[in-house]
């Protein structure tokens, strides 16, 4: 809070508290101290009950589960290393920290397809793997590395890029997406001892965007214009 905002907020609060006290003195003329004590007890019991209720509420429906990505726990701190290490790995399926967004298969008639890409697909890493056989199909899998806001992993909420195959042209289009997230933060009286107190609270709230990865598995004999320098070939050897 800024140095100007603080006194204003305090002033508003003072007014609120004055009002509350006025209210208290009005209420008190109708209430004996016994009733007040009972109300205090009921209030406290209600609050304790709320903890119990919160504990037993079923956890389905939450958009963000504690761990939404596949393949084991990728901590927020490891997001970047994970993203980089993918490139050296060959087996995407067993790669920890990668979340499979979508999988599509397109049939091709031609033996050779010229793969074309929509303009500016820069935020994807596109990997190409040639299959053992010629089955006339292109498998397109899209993956995502972990996306974090603070401590929360929201990778699962990301929409996969749109993949269209038409007239020998493969179009991978990013989807414009707006995510609204509601996250819980521990009270500052708790977070103080997690090394994230009120003073450096802001640090705990940074978001980190991961990467979208696209894996194309193409028939063995398919020709691809190797001139596309954003393509990365995964060689089986």
């Amino acid at each position: 809070m800024s140095i100007i905002g603080l006194p204003i907020a305090v002033a508003i609060l003072v007014v609120v508290i004055m009002l509350a006290r006025k209210l208290g003195t009005i209420v008190v003329t109708f209430m004996s101290w016994r009733k007040s004590a009972i109300i205090a007890g009921v209030y406290l019991l209600g609050l304790i009950l709320s903890v119990v209720i919160a504990a037993v509420l079923p956890n389905h429906g939450f958009g963000l589960m504690e761990r939404s990505h596949t393949g084991g726990g990728i901590q927020k701190g490891n997001v970047w290393t994970t993203s980089y290490s993918i490139r050296t790995q060959k087996d995407f399926e067993s790669q920890p920290g990668l979340y499979l967004n979508s999988r599509q298969t397109f049939k091709i008639d031609q033996r050779a397809v010229k793969l074309g890409f929509a303009p500016n697909p820069g935020h994807f890493q596109i990997y190409v793997e040639q299959k053992e056989a010629d089955d006339g199909k292109i498998d397109v899998s899209t993956y995502s590395t972990p996306f974090y806001v603070g401590e929360t992993d929201y990778t699962k909420l990301l929409q996969p890029p749109k993949v269209i195959f038409q007239d020998g042209l493969l179009v991978i289009e990013p989807v414009q997406q707006t995510l609204t997230l509601k996250l819980f933060k521990s009270n500052f009286t708790q977070s103080q001892f997690e090394g994230k107190n009120a003073v450096n609270l802001q640090n705990g709230l940074s978001s980190s965007f991961g990467w979208s990865e696209v894996l194309l598995r193409v028939p063995k004999s398919m020709k691809i214009d190797k001139g596309q320098n954003y393509l990365q070939y995964l060689d089986k050897d």
Partner: protein
Amino acid sequence: MSLNNNLLSIASRQYVYKLKANSSGVYSLIFIQVLALLFSLSGIQSMSSVSETLRVNVKYFSADIIISFTFIWIFFMSLRLTSINSKTMDFTLVTNRLSSHLSNIGLLLTTIIFGSISSSLMGFVLKIIMYFAFDRSQIGVNGFYPVFSDILLGIITTGLYMTLIASMGYLLGILIQIHVLFVVLYPAALFGLEKVNPQMLKLSFDFFASETSPLLFAIRIILSSLIVFSLSCLLSNRMEVRK
């Protein structure tokens, strides 16, 4: 005539009396906490991150506002306990200054226990409201479910902060009794300090707020509060009992 009335028995009688007398404080506390809860429903902090294709708007929810409001409430509660009116009420019946201070501190500690538990648990009311009233697919499960040890730690820390704040309010109240000008002087001194040496205020704030060891934190708060309360008692000895 009997002169065997000892300090503690009188102070505890006063404590019970004051507890009943100030029971109406619960209404203002509930009012303030519910108000803070309503404020909290729009989030305590929001953040957005944008990339070319993705925009993430995040709202954070916690009981921070509720706890902060409760802090201010306890400040005014302790301030009120030093008012002339409260003093007159004390001296209407059996008392001396020390027993009056002791019973006030006892009352404040009880209030603090109530305030710290209620403000910390109010966060779960917030969560339950969010669970049913908001689109759950936007809500993160992280931190939704209660963890007993965390709650306990939160309550104790809240209580400790409240103790410190209550001691400050009590001191201010006594100072105002000595001279009304302290109403202005107290905050003015703080702001003056901020202007002259911003580091010092931050340091004293960090002294409590940056301590990450619960034990050290508790020791710091308890010692500081004791010092401030003792100072209040000493200062009040300069005055006449009741005018």
